[in-house]
Subunit: 250 residues, 2 copies
DNA sequence: CGATTCGTTGACATGCTTCAAACTTCGTGG
DNA sequence: CCACGAAGTTTGAAGCATGTCAACGAATCG
């Protein structure tokens, strides 16, 4: 809250985008004047508040400064499918329909601070390759999720999930071996296509194997190598139902 | 536009992009000269040829004129995961990494004719919203796939898959009730996260139920309503493991 | 301090994978 | 043109991973 005293130039104070090659605000927004606009549209939300909902008009995307976000959509049956979790430094809200409507909903998992990038303020060059690069991250994430859901068993999914979280925390300067799960078991299950009970059981089993220590939402990874090994393993023991790729000469 | 007069070029002969509001070449490419380039880079490939491979440099994206394409990636285990199938009128090849490398491979499922859009030839406005709109389609597809994999059982996945194909053929002027599966059972399994045997069995069962008629790769849908009903059904009978969404007041 | 949500654990049911084998189609070379 | 093998498809039997149901304990909240 003390930071707000100097918020006339808050953009410079934020280092969350450093792994992206510097503040996105400076990269994407046109003028100094507009960059200050960015500061003014910074949002702080408490746990459980929606940033946007599926179907709403999309006039901006966001960067997580602190906290975490759950992205999800609702099926015809009125149930939710979690599409991903966003940690500090992540960009979200770029998945919109052709008509600029939200294709998913986003909700805070804890007290969360966001940077808001209104489409209207984006500079010309922002419309181009820079933005496409960010959508590339989203597509990469989607591919990974598809891969997990289609090819991995419960153990592999949970292990991949934890490994992914660890890597992302690590890349942002946090500990890769000990962190907090900001989402519920339910959320994890909805994300990985598993029942809550399976999530719980798998975590317990991992703990019994000495791979990690888990207490409610606190996780400490003890054997990252083993975790990675499980994460990389495909669904079945022997040859899977899927095709082993033959590399044809070009 | 004045291109209607110039009949000697391929661009105006192609009507595949009509549901998209007219030829993408006319929409995205800068000058008449470049549009002719587009014609020159039209490709025809026989079955089983790669359009591009994961990791290659990406300098263009494509539109399917005729034929069909399978998009896939290879896991650490050296096996493939199918990400989608592209039919005439579909755009593919937009999913590239930040550094403009291919995030997936694309291979023809039959003799296929493509329209090639080199990034270098794209006009300024093409870099902006137009292109983002097309990536939106891709994200929508990814979301649907995630939904299928995480929430639907074998019946639901196969039914959704067939319904999706039918709709896409329909929207392009082909029959929605009778069409050819250009991909193998293996491909379908790799796409839906199912074993080949499950795909085969499910199709047979659907046939026995009078929902459709299937003979090798020829499919005729007899009861589209029932198919849709199965497609929309979630994995389990009673309440699923996933959360039923409660609509909080905004 | 109840009420509610969340997390854990056990017993059981089942849908899908796996394994095995036969059949069909297709391509290729004799 | 036929013979032959490779690949694709179908069907059956059996095992197992995961979902389902149920109950309990722990944490959170008003």
């Amino acid at each position: 809250m003390l930071m707000q005293a100097k918020n006339n130039h808050m953009v410079q104070e934020c280092h969350i985008c450093e792994p992206r090659g510097g503040c996105l605000g400076l990269q994407l927004l046109d003028s100094e004047e507009i960059r200050q606009q960015l500061c003014n549209t910074k949002r702080i939300s408490r746990k459980g508040e929606h940033v946007f909902r599926e179907g709403e008009e999309a006039d901006a995307f966001f960067v997580v400064r602190s906290g975490s976000i759950k992205s999800y959509l609702v099926t015809e049956d009125g149930e939710e499918q979690v599409l991903g979790f966003y940690l500090p430094g992540d960009v979200f809200g770029l998945d919109t329909s052709e008509e600029q409507f939200r294709m998913s909903s986003a909700i805070t998992l804890e007290t969360t601070s966001l940077c808001r990038f209104p489409h209207a303020y984006l500079g010309d060059k922002a419309q181009g390759s820079n933005l496409l690069k960010i959508t590339a991250e989203q597509m990469q994430r989607d591919h990974n999720l598809v891969l997990m859901l289609a090819r991995k068993d419960a153990d592999g999914r949970i292990a991949s999930f934890l490994d992914d979280l660890a890597c992302r925390y690590w890349s942002r300067g946090y500990s890769a071996s000990a962190f907090l799960l900001t989402m519920s078991r339910q959320d994890i299950g909805c994300y990985l296509g598993l029942a809550v009970e399976t999530v719980s059981r798998t975590l317990t089993r991992f703990q019994d194997s000495g791979i990690l220590q888990v207490n409610r939402r606190e996780v400490e990874i003890l054997d990252h190598d083993k975790l990675r090994k499980i994460a990389g393993t495909r669904a079945s023991g022997s040859q899977s139902h899927t095709r082993t790729v033959e590399l044809k000469p070009v």
